[in-house]
């Protein structure tokens, strides 16, 4: 039995992975919806089906994310901050700082060579500092989330948002559209605003060489570009940034078994 499962129930999306011998075997993601318990079960089913395994094959399951407590079948719950650090460290061993942009908050984590958390900050619970801001604006502009990054890169003249509130930002975006601003400029403006917030978080923990981005925000090249410009560095991007925390949870599962045995 060398299979481990990591389940990350996020506020927007739930993610799950199965690892085998420390390598990613399969992953899956589902919208979290409102019933975390059900989504966790569903996620497990899908994962097992994809990997052609049965529940008994999984040696240990770690749950994480804001809905971790609802994962009835997990053996252990671990905070998403630790899982994220562990996950990114396995993917990029050289990484010392990771920016994790989730739907409900952004966090910056400093980690050691072995993927241990050595410092972290979490943003306030304000949508203007999280991935939700992007969702809200994407929705207003009627652009799919997956397309906002590329579109934003086209902007030459980002709109400066005058408010620090995602809700007012939404109205501002609507008026801007009415005033004839280009969608890419509005998106770039939002990306800039978010990048500013993120860099303020980074200032608080200090930036070290080897910085990666994870979480759903890591799928957004527009955001990444603005953050890179703001910090004057290149960010490392995992192939599946949104899965990093779930992957880390599986790594934690593995570690826990090793520790126990």
């Amino acid at each position: 039995m060398t299979y481990f499962m990591g389940i990350d129930i996020g506020s927007g999306t739930s993610k799950g992975v199965i690892t085998k011998d420390g390598e990613l075997l399969t992953y899956h993601l589902l919208p979290s919806g409102v019933n975390y318990r059900a989504v966790a079960e569903k996620l497990r089913e899908e994962l097992l089906a994809k990997a052609k395994l049965s529940p008994e094959d999984i040696a240990y399951t770690v749950a994480t994310g804001q809905g971790a407590a609802n994962v009835a079948f997990s053996d252990q719950q671990v905070t998403d901050i630790r899982c994220c650090a562990r996950g990114i460290s396995r993917i990029f061993p050289s990484v010392r700082t990771v920016i994790d942009v989730q739907a409900q908050s952004s966090q910056v984590i400093r980690l050691s060579e072995s993927g241990r958390v050595i410092n972290f900050v979490v943003s306030e619970k304000c949508a203007a500092g999280s991935g939700r801001f992007l969702e809200v604006i994407a929705n207003v502009l009627q652009i799919e989330l997956k397309d906002i990054g590329v579109l934003s890169l086209k902007s030459k003249n980002p709109v400066a948002f005058t408010t620090g509130c995602a809700v007012f930002g939404e109205s501002e975006a609507i008026s801007r559209v009415a005033e004839g601003s280009a969608k890419e400029d509005i998106l770039a403006g939002v990306h800039q605003a978010l990048a500013d917030k993120i860099s303020a978080l980074i200032e608080r923990v200090g930036l070290e060489e080897g910085c990666a981005i994870s979480g759903g925000g890591g799928l957004d090249v527009g955001l990444i570009k603005r953050v890179e410009e703001k910090l004057g560095i290149k960010l490392l991007m995992p192939h599946q940034p949104q899965m990093v925390t779930a992957f880390g949870a599986a790594i934690m599962a593995e570690e826990m078994v090793q520790l126990a045995g």
């Binding site: 905070t79 901050i81 630790r82 241990r116 958390v117 410092n119 900050v121 979490v122």
Partner: protein, 445 residues
């Protein structure tokens, strides 16, 4: 445990209870005194000088700072805060101050102690003894009370030298002189206000007892260097007001601390700690979340022992005062020592911020802490100002990490226990990491 009862996560010291009761009884004693027509002072913590004078003049002292914590714990703070808000005091200002201003406003409206006031309430004062020590709030607040009270305010001055300046020739002398002269001016003011002379012998006696009380209390805290540590910060917080506020005759207080010493000593001798299995030793800065102390039990269950806390609540480092004969000079030296006792080490290491951040370096080293929990407060600059520096220095110099949990002293909503626990759990990993780092760096723990 034999009867199957769940063991409390923190072993509380039995000798803590009478110390706490001493302070809790302060309000009722003051109300009593006030009814008998005796003078009452609302008083800021002044680190022993002014308090001794008040006691020698038989003025009942009560402490609105402590009362702020009481109102927070009893749930009456929101009423007083709302009152202060509506009177136009900016809401980012000290929660204790706003609580007190609101209380005073209500007392003025009602013409008596508000009926909901916990612990008997604070009676109308004859004078306000304010303080120039540490925090601007502590004199601006009493000045602002003029809106509701016609009691005169006396601000007791305290020198705040920088580390470097304090080492210049003659500086210690003029600072002590300043403290002594300040006390003399205060005594003159009080004698004039109350129309009676102070009993100087009584003052000398009180001051000597105070010095002795602080010595014993210091010894108690020295015991906490033991592994496992016999006394958790919660016990410290419960028993420290008795030394900071002169709630009772310092002789009585000293006796209670002696009993506490005996209890803690026997725990040390028997290797009993304040938490069952001491996995992590922590320091705490600064003011605790009075209304969410249960949080520390949850941490204790995870093996977190809090072994040392805000230096500002601690007695001064021992100092030989046997050669100083003038009582006022004795207490001035004690207070000055409290403030500058860490300066020598700070000077030698070039820590120019001296009193406000440097003591943590010493504490963390001597009490061998794995981490420090910082509690920045939205409404108290004094307890927050220096925390970033503390964090930075502990990491740079001692490789000890900090956990930051935001909150407030009276506003319950700002402390989010679930979020705090999530951060704390993550922080265990950080502490373990730095245990290794310190070992590699050749540090002692």
């Amino acid at each position: 445990m034999a009867d199957g009862e769940k063991k409390r996560a923190i072993n509380r010291l039995k000798t803590m209870y009478p110390l706490r009761a001493l302070v809790d009884g302060m309000y009722e004693r003051a109300v009593e005194a006030s009814k008998e027509g005796k003078p009452v002072a609302w008083c800021m913590v002044n680190w022993w000088g002014g308090d001794a004078v008040l006691r020698a003049m038989e003025v009942a002292a009560i402490y609105p700072e402590d009362y702020g914590a009481v109102c927070a714990a009893f749930g009456t703070a929101p009423t007083y805060l709302a009152q202060s808000d509506s009177d136009g005091f900016p809401s980012h200002m000290c929660g204790y101050a706003r609580n007190c201003l609101g209380y005073a406003a209500r007392m003025k409206d009602l013409g008596e102690i508000p009926p909901e006031a916990p612990m008997g309430g604070m009676p109308k004062p004859t004078l306000l003894l304010s303080s120039g020590y540490f925090c601007d709030t502590r004199y601006k607040w009493f000045q602002a009370l003029g809106r509701y009270l016609d009691a005169p305010v006396w601000v007791l001055e305290m020198p705040h030298p920088g580390v470097k300046e304090s080492r210049m020739e003659g500086v210690r002398e003029h600072n002590i002189k300043f403290l002594v002269e300040e006390l003399r001016e205060f005594i003159a003011f009080l004698e004039n206000l109350l129309g009676k002379k102070m009993d100087r012998d009584r003052l000398a006696e009180i001051i000597d007892d105070t010095i002795e009380m602080n010595r014993v209390w210091h010894e108690v805290n020295e015991l906490r260097k033991a592994r496992p540590c016999p006394m958790h910060s919660r016990d410290f917080w419960s028993s420290m007001p008795a030394s900071l506020y002169m709630a009772a005759d310092p002789k009585v207080t000293a006796d209670l601390y002696r009993q506490m010493y005996d209890e803690a000593k026997s725990m040390v001798d028997n290797h009993i700690g304040a938490v069952e299995e001491e996995k992590y030793r922590l320091a705490f800065a600064e003011l605790p979340p009075w209304h969410s102390l249960g949080f520390f039990n949850q941490l204790a269950e995870r093996g977190w022992n809090f072994v040392i806390e805000s230096w500002a609540y601690h007695p001064p480092k021992p100092i030989d005062l046997s050669k100083v004969s003038d009582p006022l000079e004795r207490v001035a030296n004690l207070t000055y020592q409290y403030f500058s006792g860490y300066f020598e080490d700070a000077f030698n290491t070039g820590d120019w911020w001296g009193y406000f951040a440097h003591p943590y370096l010493e504490f963390v080293r001597e009490y061998q802490c794995d981490g420090i929990m910082l509690h920045p407060l939205l409404t108290c600059r004094t307890a927050t100002n220096h925390l970033m520096v503390v964090q930075d220095q502990l990491m740079t110099k001692l490789k000890v990490p900090s956990l930051i949990i935001e909150g407030d002293i009276v506003d319950l909503n700002l402390f989010d226990p679930a979020d705090a626990l999530r951060k704390a759990e993550t922080f265990e990993e950080t502490m373990s990491h730095y245990q290794k780092v310190r070992k590699e760096a050749g540090l002692a723990w």
